[in-house]
């Protein structure tokens, strides 16, 4: 292995872009690394770490400002075309032609790579078989589901065995089942064809499957090694603690997150809190923080090492060091406290688009002050359900009550009592933070001095810079601003659509800390997410697939239903969706 030349050699590589605010920003900052052929390599890091830039440079699409970059022994600065002839690259958006069929996409790439006709038939049938796309060869790529698109994108890069395969975040925005399938295909091909693969990912479980992992953050290489090597960095620091009876795990987790000199990271999981303590922290202080709850050591995982590395690197500046908004606020004695009946009632809700049923016969309640999560793969009906709850989309049939108001009759009255944060940043990019909030305050009917006071108050609570131009804020701060705007009129219920997609893990922790604080002050929160582990922050969750409600209950109940009680939510989710799909298939066969 050691005498074969490395497939990628990078020395002192740098690349600077002009940021949205006109200032230069270093996407890649002096990285050196070398990658062995015949291995599966992961580039991991939060958003903005430089993963995509590095991928594009290896594909010869971006020219480095300085440093040396050799792929397959060829200097990319001198002969990018030769490298591009021999490698394959799947960009984040798969590079498919949506108006061409599955077969036509495959044919196009096979022609471009000059795959001879005799090899082609055998190769295609194998790829179609592996990706389970053989039934859909005539379907336009644009009409495939997200997971199928991604598999087709992969198949297009594999029309011939490349000398190196580059996959840029192949699993972004794809449901857990499809993610698992994708990695199985890649592993099969490594075993059968001796493929060399470099993939970037934000998921640690994916990185854990690789031979070698490079951890990137803010354009620099933080660490590298086998998953086991990296994992050991967190050895002895990882513990799990059970909260006292009746206390939600997230409340304990919030308290721990607020003590950064003792705890590096804490997440709720299966009714407990998994955490990493600071190396050499004061054990007595930690014990006091935990209120003598039952604390056990646990086996460290790659994720723990990753969080540890990020925290050590991000010690200053960025989204992270700023205290999570609202955390410092004393929990407001809630005027609408817990437990006095449901605040959202959904009965037999149906939504059809033509002959397509996006949401079928869905019923659930959300209690006052609860954090309620809607989970599901893409296309499950989450967003449609969500839009109906917010009164943005009329239901085809069924009953829908929000904040005590029947949405089918008095939509405007209900809207005044809810706040809505859309998935895409929906504020005005070229207005300042203050101007945006002032505008939305006016839109919610706040006037004069009251508006000024409320806007100032929320700016302080969310720790925002009133003069900053909204479009130039980092993603985590944009999220904060959007939430602040949604809370201006002090709604009873806050709806958040995929609030954490595209945000790095540290900013996500800070985001959930804010949600926990909001919930403590009595606001009901309804949130959709495709990060299954985030279900652990919720009081109750609903899992949707193909428009149907598959499971409803506390995270613990849902996990028990799946039969996977000790694992992660991710596995529980996969099990539930698979059981439901199998049951349906069985039902069809019986009929």
């Amino acid at each position: 292995m050691n005498d074969t030349p490395p497939s990628v050699v990078i020395e002192g590589l740098s690349k600077t872009f002009t940021g949205p605010d006109g200032k230069p920003f270093r996407a890649i900052d002096g990285i050196s690394l070398s990658i062995q052929p015949g291995t599966l390599v992961a580039l991991v890091g939060p958003d903005g770490a430089g993963k995509t830039t590095l991928m594009r440079m290896m594909a010869g699409l971006l020219r480095p400002d300085s440093g040396r970059l050799e792929v397959l022994g060829i200097d990319l600065a001198k002969d990018a075309q030769t490298v591009q002839n021999r490698i394959s690259y799947m960009p984040q958006r798969f590079g498919l032609y949506e108006d061409l069929s599955v077969q036509e996409n495959l044919d196009l790439y096979a022609d471009l790579h000059g795959v001879p006709a005799d090899v082609r038939a055998e190769r295609f049938s194998r790829l179609l078989d592996m990706t389970d796309l053989a039934r859909f060869t005539g379907r336009p790529a644009g009409k495939l589901s997200g997971g199928m698109k991604q598999k087709l994108g992969l198949a297009c890069t594999l029309v011939r065995v490349p000398d190196l395969l580059l996959l840029d975040e192949p699993s972004v925005g794809v449901d857990p089942l499809s993610r698992r399938d994708l990695w199985q295909i890649i592993e099969q091909l490594i075993a059968s064809d001796g493929l060399s693969v470099i993939g970037s990912t934000a998921y640690m479980d994916e990185a854990g499957r690789c031979d070698h992992v490079f951890v990137l953050n803010q354009g620099t290489l933080l660490a590298e090694g086998s998953p086991d090597d990296l994992r050991r960095r967190a050895e002895g620091l990882t513990h799990v603690v059970s909260p006292a009876d009746g206390v939600p795990a997230r409340d304990l987790q919030a308290r721990m997150i607020d003590a950064p000199d003792l705890v590096v990271d804490a997440v709720p999981s299966a009714g407990q809190v998994r955490f990493i303590c600071q190396p050499g922290c004061d054990q007595a202080a930690l014990k006091a923080l935990l209120h003598d709850c039952d604390c056990q050591p646990r086996k460290e995982e790659l994720e723990d090492a990753f969080m540890l590395l990020l925290h050590q690197h991000d010690g200053s500046g960025g989204d992270v060091s700023a205290p999570p908004p609202l955390a410092s606020e004393a929990p407001v004695a809630s005027q609408n406290g817990h437990g006095d009946g449901p605040v959202i009632v959904v009965r037999d809700l149906v939504r059809r688009f033509g002959d397509f049923t996006a949401v079928a016969n869905t019923s659930f309640d959300v209690k006052r002050g609860e954090i309620f999560g809607l989970l599901g793969p893409n296309g499950a009906g989450k967003t449609t359900t969500f839009r109906m709850l917010c009164g943005l989309l009329p239901a085809t049939s069924g009953e829908l009550q929000v904040a005590g108001v029947n949405l089918r009759k008095a939509r405007a009255a209900a809207r005044a009592r809810i706040g809505y944060v859309a998935q895409k940043f929906s504020l005005y990019s070229n207005l300042s933070v203050y101007e945006n909030l002032d505008f939305f305050g006016g839109a919610y009917g706040l006037r004069g001095k009251a508006r000024y006071q409320r806007v100032s108050e929320i700016i302080r609570q969310f720790d925002l810079d009133p003069d900053a131009q909204s479009g130039n804020l980092p993603l985590g701060y944009k999220q904060r601003l959007a939430m602040a705007a949604g809370l201006l009129h002090e709604p009873e219920i806050l709806f958040l659509d995929e609030p954490t997609s595209g945000i790095d893990p540290l900013a996500r922790r800070s985001f959930w800390r804010t949600i926990t604080a909001l919930s403590q002050s009595g606001v009901t929160v309804v949130v959709t997410t495709h990060f299954m582990e985030e279900a652990e922050y919720c009081d109750r969750i609903a899992i949707q697939d193909a428009g149907r409600l598959l499971a409803l209950g506390t995270p613990r109940e849902v996990r028990e239903r799946s039969g996977i009680t000790d694992g992660y939510m991710n596995e529980a989710f996969i099990a539930i969706v698979e059981q439901a799909r199998a049951a349906e298939a069985g039902g069809l066969e019986a009929a």
Binding site: R56, G60, Q81, S88, P91, G95, L108, G114, L166
Partner: protein, 376 residues
Amino acid sequence: MRDSAFRIRLVALVRKETRQMLRDRSNLLVGLLLPVALILLFGYGLSFDVKNAPVALVMDNNSAAAREAVSGIGGSRYLVPVRVGSMAQADALLRAGKVDAIVRVPIDFAEQQARGKAQVQLILNGIDSTTATSLEAYINGALGTVTLRRIDRGTGGATGVGGVSLVQRIWFNEAGISTWYLVPGLVVLIMTLVGAFLTSLLIAREWERGTLEALFVTPVRPLELVLAKIVPYLAIGLIDLVMCVVAARLLFEVPIRGSLLAILLTSMAYLLVSLLMGLFISGTTRNQFAASQMALLASFMPALMLSGFVFDLRNVPLAVKIASQIVPATHFMGVIKTLFLAGTDWGMVLRGCAILLGYAVVLLALTWRTVRKRLD
């Protein structure tokens, strides 16, 4: 080996572009139906011709000679005389837009004529200068006919004897029918529209959807990408050209006096320029919306305003004249009008084609740069 790989890739890309073109209904709508709509609109709907224009007649002198002098106005199918009693009344009618011109016979018309130098006053409404110019010509003609008739009859005064009389003839568009020069101009507009507007979406769409990024990391060469995007739209342009020529001949009876081969050659040369212009804009903006806006502004508008389609380029200020010479459509417009209405002047055709191909080469080089397999 190298050549055959090039051919395989080019064929694959052309096939891909053709499929995409055929599957995008809005593309076909703009490429094939819009030209039909334009042909019908320009052929039947629009006309600069003046017909049945009301002309106020103020007869301050009502002698037989005076009446004879203006009798031609009643005899023309372009003019309708409106007799009014006074100049003030005529003035009011002109202001109200009820008449387009005033013809006034002065009170001493008879004496003037006796001296051999009679004058009639013509007042035109200059608000619409095109109509005014046409009217002037028609009224001049109508009045002149009477004079010629008198000369023929030998009753004329001094005019016929030893005087020079002007006998007018308009060549190439003998009847001065505006359809005749609008339709060749329409070929220019349609070639511009199909070329620049449709292709302006092509590269930008691939940037927006991220497909170019995947395509770049294959053995494909930039030139192949550009060529593949041109081929299917050349075919659409050819269909449109045939439609225009057939419509011109059969529907509007425009004489096609030049050689069809010359029309085909020049049109294809211009279409190539237009396609490359669209692709260049597309590759530079990398955004479909901006590209289509820009294509309209940078190619369609100049083709409409500056090519000599509507305005005669000999009468514009120097700066506009220079600008118009930069617009490729101007060079095509001159040649195609001549080919339709006058005949084939091969020297002119070849010169026009050479200029257009020069543009094509420059634009090809520029477009090539926009897809040179780099993201920065």
